[in-house]
Symmetry: D2
Subunit: 136 residues, 4 copies
């Protein structure tokens, strides 16, 4: 009764900092890439959504840094949607490195916003239809 | 019974995204700059701390995005240390734009780590001495 | 017969990489911040320019990395406009660290583009008027 | 008589700016990712090179921005090494979008540096051996 997706990301040099590990501020890019690919995997295109006038800004982000990620690591970003989304959609993340060690956990809450009015709106119907099979 | 600091940051073009506002992943850089200047204001140098073999990685980050920041906004990043830090140090943030609107809140927990052993260590004595006057 | 401006920038931790120095890809942000402040110093606002429907994309960038910049360095970004701009505007950069060592040189060519047509346009009149005194 | 490699990169949201296109300062990350994968394709590991005490800082970067890249574009980064490298190695780039339009060209010059002495050093032997077949 949930929808999950695993996405691989290779750490770039520019994402590290002088501690020799991935800068804590680089992780939001990993979360973003993983949820985009997650949605694409069930036929939902974020770029298409924006063309139709709906955007999905992040409202809340909670991150726990458990162990460092390093340059050239091949990370597995595991994303879960645990509840059928309504006006908001919550993504749960766990990141593992190539030795299967858990290095990071996060939850991000996004909302659907009408770009013309800048106001929250309901989840688009194609999102509902694509996600419903996972929550029956 | 707390230590606070206000730091001004001008939003760069490269920190925005195609929504026309600051990318949610750009805020960690603002938090970092503000706490560095906060510590500098009481004579504590983070770069000096690392030279002495102690680093301060981020362990946890919790962010609430309330309203967008825009390109060229002159943000006030308000940072508070509310409790005398021990092995960990918690920074509370509130960001206001030039119209005094609250746009962002965050808490970041950092720990002191010995760079040689990669293990947590106690807060350095000069940190204790510089911070104590604010918690008496 | 030129217009120049000096702008100070403090290096952020997130702008470094695991070499322990500023990532080569972080410099465009420094160039951007410096030319924005340069224009502001003579009353020209880039954010205002975009509101009027004109943007200034970068067409060419040439960078020479001479010596590393380090975390917490207080850089002086020296910018010059050496020729009265027409359809394009060239910014020449030299970056010095706090020990006055030259660490970086760059030239960036930007053009004026009408946002509606996505086509190049002439330099706006307020730009001409603000810059002309430096090229007489 | 050259070595070339094609690498696909999907544009992240955080790499765009308020112009709605990829920020000009995001491209160095694409160049970096592409040349790392290029080297990996012939058995050369940059992370391994650094473990052996040799790093490859960028000395010069020349970029021409021809057309914008957009969010979610699937870019093809074409990299060429046109000359057998000695103390320095030059990477030539051409980036095409999914409609095969040329959007970007760049040349980056990197040098081999001994991390202990911080001085330039000769190209490592395994690099020579892996690259020589392409220049005979």
């Amino acid at each position: 009764m949930m929808f999950y997706y695993d996405h691989k990301i290779r750490v770039r040099y520019g994402e590290t900092d002088k501690m020799g590990v991935v800068y804590h501020g680089s992780y939001p890019l990993y979360y973003e890439e993983a949820r985009t690919e997650m949605l694409r995997s069930i036929g939902l295109s974020y770029v298409e959504l924006e063309r139709r006038g709906i955007m999905m800004p992040v409202r809340e982000m909670h991150v726990r840094y458990i162990a460092p990620a390093r340059y050239d690591d091949l990370l597995t970003v595991h994303v879960e949607i645990r509840q059928m989304p309504g006006a908001r959609i919550v993504f749960h993340y766990r990141i593992l490195n190539q030795r299967k060690a858990l290095i990071n956990e996060a939850e991000l809450t996004l909302v659907f916003v009408n770009m013309e009015t800048s106001r929250p709106c309901r989840i688009p119907q194609d999102f509902t239809e694509a996600l419903e099979p996972y929550f029956r």
